[in-house]
């Protein structure tokens, strides 16, 4: 990776004084997209945290053209925008910025349709692992064992593997990313947008409000997710898998920080016992085994 922070532009399309919670990773994610691509883009935003971060009519906190759209419809609306731009011979990238609920649950059908058709959009899912905007309800992306208001004993189901679902659609580009590794994310956004077709980036977004930790730890927890192996950074280009960032060196389990360090720091895992911890750890191990097969 040759990109450095000093190479990035000073322009801030996300204007200060927006309504996001202190330490919001979704706001940070959009700032990073702005750093990656500048302001010659169009955003499509379904219902979710980022809707509210824009603030109230007649003002908006984002200095980019945005189409807000209903919850299930972001990929389809983006397909429409992209088709119109094609007709008008414009190459302005169309970027969906959607939460996990609007992607893996209610939005999955329209995203699958767009991917199957290869519609020319970049879809970025900021994954704060629950329906945070409506008050921390469980989504398909909530990890196993996590507390939410609708999984008070800890989620009984595994996290839906959305990047793998996108890879199965045979789209040109799929990646995971984390707000804790901004240069990795920015490079992925830039690579993706240069390709034609449906591109998907799944951005880990540790939410202080929903995960129950103090806001100053937001990036640190994102980093620990990667360094413990709980969140794997990778990209899949034309079906070829490769690890990126620190994940490149974490195939060897001994090099990963203990998973407890990541979980302990979050109030949403405060209830877990040894058995649950073991289950979580073995799921993480299994993720690594599966990805090892894929990168061969």
């Amino acid at each position: 990776m040759n990109l450095r922070l000093t190479d990035l532009d000073r322009r801030e399309p996300l204007l200060r004084g927006h309504p996001a919670c202190p330490g919001c990773p979704s706001a940070l994610g959009l700032r990073l997209i702005g750093k990656a691509l500048g302001s010659d883009i169009v955003l499509v935003v379904p219902a979710g945290c980022f809707t509210m971060i824009q603030g109230a009519f007649p003002k908006t906190s984002v200095d980019l053209p945005i189409l807000n759209i209903a919850f299930a419809a972001s990929a389809a609306a983006a397909s429409g925008v992209s088709a119109a731009f094609e007709v008008k011979k414009s190459d302005v990238p169309v970027i969906v910025y959607a939460g996990d609920g609007g992607t893996v649950d209610i939005g999955i059908q329209s995203l699958s349709g767009a991917a199957e058709r290869g519609d020319n959009i970049l879809y970025v899912c900021y994954d704060n692992e629950a329906y945070q905007n409506t008050g921390i309800q469980r989504s398909g992306a909530t990890p196993y064992g996590a507390w939410t208001t609708t999984s008070i004993k800890g989620k009984a189901e595994k996290k839906k593997d959305m990047p793998a679902i996108m890879v199965a659609h045979q789209v040109p580009y799929v990646a995971t990313a984390s707000i804790a590794y901004p240069l990795d994310f920015i490079e992925k956004v830039r690579s993706a947008v240069m390709m034609h077709g449906t591109k998907y980036i799944h951005l880990h977004a540790p939410c202080p409000t929903g995960w129950r930790f103090s806001s100053d730890k937001m990036v640190e927890i994102g980093r620990d997710a990667v360094l413990t192996g709980a969140w794997i950074l990778y990209e899949v280009v034309g079906g070829h898998w490769r690890l990126t960032g620190p994940s490149k060196n974490l195939m060897d389990k001994r090099k990963r920080k203990p998973v407890q360090e990541y979980l302990k720091a979050q109030g949403r895992f405060a209830h877990i016992n040894a058995k649950l911890l073991e289950a979580i750890c073995s799921q993480i191990d299994q993720q690594w085994e599966e990805i090892e097969e894929k990168i061969k």
Binding site: L8, R16, A20, P22, G23
Partner: protein, 82 residues
């Protein structure tokens, strides 16, 4: 007159969000190595990157989240009570 829900970009749509904070980040300019880590991680974009890559904070909107202080690799940012 607007006939449809079209909004214009503006700073401070949530008002003076600087009033939200309980603690205030203070940058020790001498200690700062201009690494820009605080700048990139601020969710508000309230850390201003100067021409020579020194940074200062726009306190009008800083919510005091503390990410900058937590991330600074040389401990140049302290969270102080206001």
């Amino acid at each position: 007159m607007r006939i449809v829900a079209v909004s214009e970009p503006s700073e401070g749509v949530a008002g003076n969000t600087g009033s939200w904070r309980l603690m205030k980040p203070v940058i020790d300019r001498e200690r700062c190595t201009k690494c820009l880590v605080c700048w990139i991680f601020c969710p508000e974009g309230t850390i201003v990157r100067e021409d020579d890559d020194h940074v200062h904070i726009e306190y009008n909107y800083c919510k005091g989240c503390g990410v900058c202080s937590n991330e600074c690799p040389v401990n140049a940012i302290d969270m102080v009570e206001e």
